[in-house]
Amino acid sequence: MQPGRSSRRSFLGGLAVSVGAWTSTSWMPALAAVGTGNRQKAKSVILIWLNGGPSTIDLWDLKPGHDNGGPFKEIATTVPGMRISEHLPNLAAVAHEFSLIRSMATREGDHARARVASITGYTPQGAIKFPAIGSLVAHEFDVTNDIPSYVHVGGQPAVTGGGFLGPQFAPFVVGGGTRRPQAADEGAASLKVDNLESRSAAAKDLRLALLEELSARSGLPASPVAESVVSARIQALRLMNPKAASAFSLDDEPEAIRDSYGMTTFGQGCLLARRLVERGVSFVEVSLDGWDTHGNNFEQVKTLSHQLDQGVATLFKELRERGLLSETLVVCQGEFGRTPRINGQAGRDHWPSTWAVMLGGAGIRGGQVVGRTSADGAHLESEPTRTADLMATIFQGIGLDPRKQNMSNVGRPIRLADPDGTAIEELV
């Protein structure tokens, strides 16, 4: 036996269990499932990612009457005293389901760095490959599922791999994702998962049998690169299970429900997120791009607000109706906020110093407003909330200990959330 082969075998085993169930061959070795032990009940997170840095001063923390406020008006919500943008009327009607953090204060004002910091909870340091929060949540709950446990919908994930947790916990990207230009909004069609079916019904079994048997005979040593090829293939095969693949068939939903989310890529992405958490997926990111509004901020934010409002308000309603909201945490944020001062192009620039996050659902007290900004929106009049605090809040909300450690690629244990952070008292 080759050195390293046994590790690959057992690695394969953990993933391979259910593939044989839907193919007619018996080539997959019948290895016992890796015991998942007695973990706490798995919960899910849906991260609504507002890519580009949303103008939260025009969404969640308006400054009407001030020069920095711009043309948008505030409206009342179902929560007394919590007022949000007039362009979010449907969210205003479900405001008791969520809370606002108006005291976000972070350091990174560059898109790429801020994205990585927001999505990993850590400032990049040296060789440590910090995983995305989606990978961390997927890894902690370790749900046995033919659908990948971390799915990114409609954009490009800030961290493409699984970081130090390995390739099994990398995001599965649906829609978007390409590094080459594509049409702006192809509607729901772009959320289709391509290539989910074998193109050769007749030879499918022979193909798979040859692939598995020859791979098992390979004389090559195990390596992370080879492991990742095998891991992706096995996850792909499991996803080809028609039952798993059907999670992505939005056509199975009644037309009225599809319409209620809005027939945009983002709206349908929210619907897809609901379908995925119903099927046990641990972490879903739904990306809405276009928030980098250096010019013509208000027109763009208005348009984006309509999409956001319809998609996310319907998501809250449906999760509540289906009894899923108590086990699903919805978080809505981007990489930073935008300057309170309006620039010469009626735009707003990058602003990490004061911004806002909306979140609600599992483990989070709804109807709260955390923190306060000054009348011009440029200063905090309360304690700052850092990314680490937000991370700790999210982990605690879904029942995970933010101090739990995982071994990193540099041999140093790393906690789920940076230990500098503490969960926000008013919310958990």
Partner: protein, 537 residues
Amino acid sequence: MASDPQPLGRGMIGGVACCLAMIVAAAAPSGRAASVEPVEIARRIDEHVLGAHVALVDDTAFLRRVTLDLTGRIPTVAEVHDYLAEDSRSRSATAINRLLHAGVHTRNMATFFRRTWVPQADTREFAGVADPFEAWLTGRLRDGARYHELVTEILTQDPTGAQSGSAGPWGFFEANQGKPENLAASAARGFLGLNLDCAQCHDHPHARWTREQFWQTAAFFADVPPGAGPARPGLPKIKIPETDRECEPVFLTAAAVAVPAAPDSRALRQAFVAWMLEDGERLMAKNAVNRLWSHFFGEAVVEPMDDLSREEFQTGERAALLDELADLFIATGYDVHVLVEGMVSSRAYRLAPTASTPGRDSTPATPTNGPAEATVSVTADTARFMLTGKPVRGLTGEQLYDSLRVAAGLPMARSDVGLADGRSQRDAFTAEFYVERPHGAERSITQALTLMNGPLVNDLTTAEGNRILASLLAAPFVAPDDQIDTVFLAVLGRHPTSDELDTVRRRFAGSPELGPADRLGSLFWALVNSFEFCTNH
């Protein structure tokens, strides 16, 4: 080249007087004699990194590895046959020589250098700049251009001369949007192996480079309005954002090069290049060596590759190797050809693949049969640098696409003959299979689905789309075992083991409902989806 003597430059910036040294011509390196032979480079590499007992890769695996690294594709069936028919004592040298002079080698290196210098072209926003830049590089490399000539031409180009879509080095300016701060950061990273990004916004207490130095470097890329020489008001000034401080161009390290007194924007950049060539730390040569090393060996000598000036990298075995190779590279007159031939001719290059790479430790939960040897003694002990094996690398999108075609007996899609269409399939595929660092490549589920069920691979599993299969099926006298053997040679570049042959025979026999075309197509499908095909090992 900025080889004219320049007047003495003097910068008084922020209270720090920087006296640049005396007038010296910033000429091309004098060591044009090319007295350094590749075999000398190979010998020095082996002296540095090899222990007494090393296991080398077998013959056909070497051919596959070196063909992938030099030409970006796997060897053809004919190349494997020819190789095995040659004298085993000399065939590897013959193969290296043949590959180094193949047209695809030039194109492969053009992609490598473009990715090093204009990595932005691998993003959506700047995807369009890749083709003209690589076409230009391919032509220049074919003409025998030296490394420092390429760098000079990129940095001292007239960006207003850019013609959209035509071959040229424009991509460097386009991808940096012509902004001095972007150009400075990209030049430092791509040509010198320095990361100045942090210094752009603030002074870090432990970093070597200050914010002022960043903007002094950026000032070399300032846009000087055209005007008469004598009337020009001295050196351009560039303002540090959100401060009242202004910076004039000053070199990062002392060198016997002067900034011209009243330069136009091109003369400024010429002075910058002259400084890079004269820089006492030889960062330009070290960066070239380090990045080429990572192309051929996986992990670079110094990681991260854009932090060459870090203090702990200045001593120890890694620094010594980089120093020596940089000296040799300069002595060849910056001849990439000689350096590359030296690297692939070394025994270190031929090391057998090892069980793990230092990038990511597998979780210790799974017991292994044997102790996984670390490829390189890294991190904690930066002083030591010994190679005991070669990390397994993922194929880049380009390597995977071109290799799939070669495995099916099809000609490679050409990009060196113009920028016409017909390449959209390759572009889409390589974008989907983009790999940042091959030794840390991670395959995604989407990629796995594309390889298993996508139209490209499935076309190649039919006799209509696969010339190898077509010829095997059309020839009545080829025995079934020889058919299997040929598919293995075409896809994996080696014969099947007897165990593998038995497996395939047994599985074929167990599928009597399938004809020979479906069977061989299935074998092709299974082999291209294997990790042996998808990696360079």
